[in-house]
């Protein structure tokens, strides 16, 4: 028997028939891995996996997309750089950066913010704006790029900052009513910040938590560890991803992050509402790189689609199939809500992989 089979067997043996286990993960990478490895297919019926707001693209409100689209409309010479998934996120009117690109806006997908920096260096006569999306795993990269831009004296590189804090979202979910029995904690966020970031949570919320890696074995091992905690009535933070995650994390990355983004501002998360001090903000010393300041970007008003169930799905309170739009009007090629755009979003992952379990 392979480790995978042994783990699956152990889960079957140790999960108690009279307990309904409901575990939530808070990381887009985990959502994607669970679907890719078809983990729910291997689990017994009384273990349910739900997905929290772990996809940074999925929690972007339509207003942010509208603001960037307006920026492009008012600055025809701008180069806008984004990570791939952001391109097709629709705003509440159905417009997107992808459609703007088709209409002639210079929108480019980059693998790394380093590419955006190079574009700025190679095109001194044009302004380059990097649409920075992501949690604590990604924010240090943007910070490093800004430090490099300052060192090199780049005058044409700016960042539209939408980096968010993971714990704030977790508090929002765990403080509201829920029926969760355990949490799979985000492996790459905690690789950067250290698992001490979450050390008070299990006690505070009476919730067992396990930091998990991203392979099928990691996820099954983490689920087994959670089942054992539930069975024993313990509420601890355990680390399954020991080969990467430590208590204090990557000190250099944290230091770079704090140097450029030491402040926090309120941010409206799609599906969660305004969460105070949940988004990273520029230190004064680096404000010259803030696209909002440079281009005088004002908040855009918007009205999210009322039928779309992304807000509930992000909270783990609904499944994709509960949404009347899923698979019909809302499909990967024509996403209405952000959860469908990305393979990390619950609906996107489920559409591609999860439909087998109907």
């Amino acid at each position: 028997m392979s480790f995978l089979q042994k783990l699956a067997e152990a889960i079957k043996q140790e999960a108690k028939n009279d307990i309904s286990y409901r575990f939530m993960e808070f990381c887009g990478g985990h959502t994607y891995a669970l679907a890719k490895y078809a983990i729910p297919d291997i689990l017994p019926e009384n273990i349910k996996m739900t997905h929290g707001p772990g996809c940074p693209v999925c929690v972007l409100p339509s207003g942010k997309i509208r603001e960037v689209i307006n920026l492009l409309r008012e600055n025809k010479n701008l180069i806008l750089c984004t990570y791939g998934d952001v391109l097709r996120v629709p705003d509440d009117t159905g417009d997107s950066l992808f459609k703007q690109k088709a209409r002639g806006a210079d929108v480019r997908i980059v693998y790394s913010c380093q590419d955006a920096l190079h574009l700025a260096a190679d095109n001194p006569n044009r302004q380059v704006v990097f649409f920075a999306v992501g949690f604590e795993t990604t924010a240090p990269l943007t910070a490093a790029a800004i430090i490099e831009a300052k060192t090199k004296g780049l005058q044409n590189f700016f960042v539209f900052l939408c980096h968010l804090q993971t714990p704030v979202a977790m508090h929002a979910i765990l403080e509201s009513s829920h029926n969760l029995s355990g949490v799979i904690a985000p492996g790459h966020v905690l690789a950067v910040t250290g698992y001490n970031l979450f050390k008070d949570m299990p006690e505070r919320y009476k919730m067992p938590m396990v930091v998990s890696g991203f392979e099928a074995e990691d996820l099954l091992a983490s689920i087994l560890m959670l089942i054992r905690q539930v069975n024993n009535g313990t509420c601890n933070l355990e680390n399954e991803y020991t080969k990467v995650v430590t208590a204090s994390g990557n000190m250099r990355a944290i230091s770079v992050l704090r140097q450029v983004f030491p402040l926090f501002v309120d941010f409206e998360w799609r599906g969660l509402g305004i969460l105070p001090k949940s988004a990273f903000a520029f230190a004064d010393e680096y404000k010259e790189f803030d696209a909002v300041q440079r281009f005088k970007i004002t908040p855009a008003s918007y009205t999210e689609n009322k039928v779309c169930k992304c807000p509930l799905i992000i909270r783990g309170q609904a499944e994709p199939y509960d949404c009347p739009l899923f698979g019909k009007a809302c499909r990967p090629e024509s996403p209405i809500g952000p959860c469908m755009v990305s393979g990390e979003g619950t609906c996107g992952a489920f559409f591609k992989y999860g439909r087998m379990k109907r």
Binding site: F3, K6, L7, A10, Q13, E14, C27, G28, G29, G54, Y83, G84, D85, Y111, S112, C113, Q114, D115, G134, F135, T137, T138, P140, L141, A144, I147, E148, P186, H188, V189, A191, V192, E217, A221, L224, M225, R228, N239, E240, Y241, T242, K243, V244, V245, G249, N250, M251, R252, A253, V256, S342, E344
Partner: protein, 72 residues
């Protein structure tokens, strides 16, 4: 994407960069500006062009031990 892949460091390059093997001998140049004390032969997690953490397979969770805990 939260996507980070384990890569083997092949060469340390100037300007805080490194050449890494992303798998099967495919090479990529990435930034080390977020990670200290990286040496050739180390395994690092690479996220969007930057190394964000070391990977230490020798201290990976012992699955056998985990399984045996349940048996006891």
């Amino acid at each position: 994407m939260c996507l980070a892949v384990p890569c083997k460091v092949l060469d340390i390059l100037p300007d805080d960069k490194a050449s890494v093997d992303i798998g099967a001998g495919v090479r990529k140049t990435i930034s080390l500006s977020l990670l200290k004390d990286v040496e050739v032969g180390d395994y690092v997690l690479v996220h969007a062009g930057y190394a964000i953490s070391k990977e230490n397979p020798e201290i990976a969770l012992d699955i056998l031990e985990l399984l045996q805990e349940g048996a006891s």
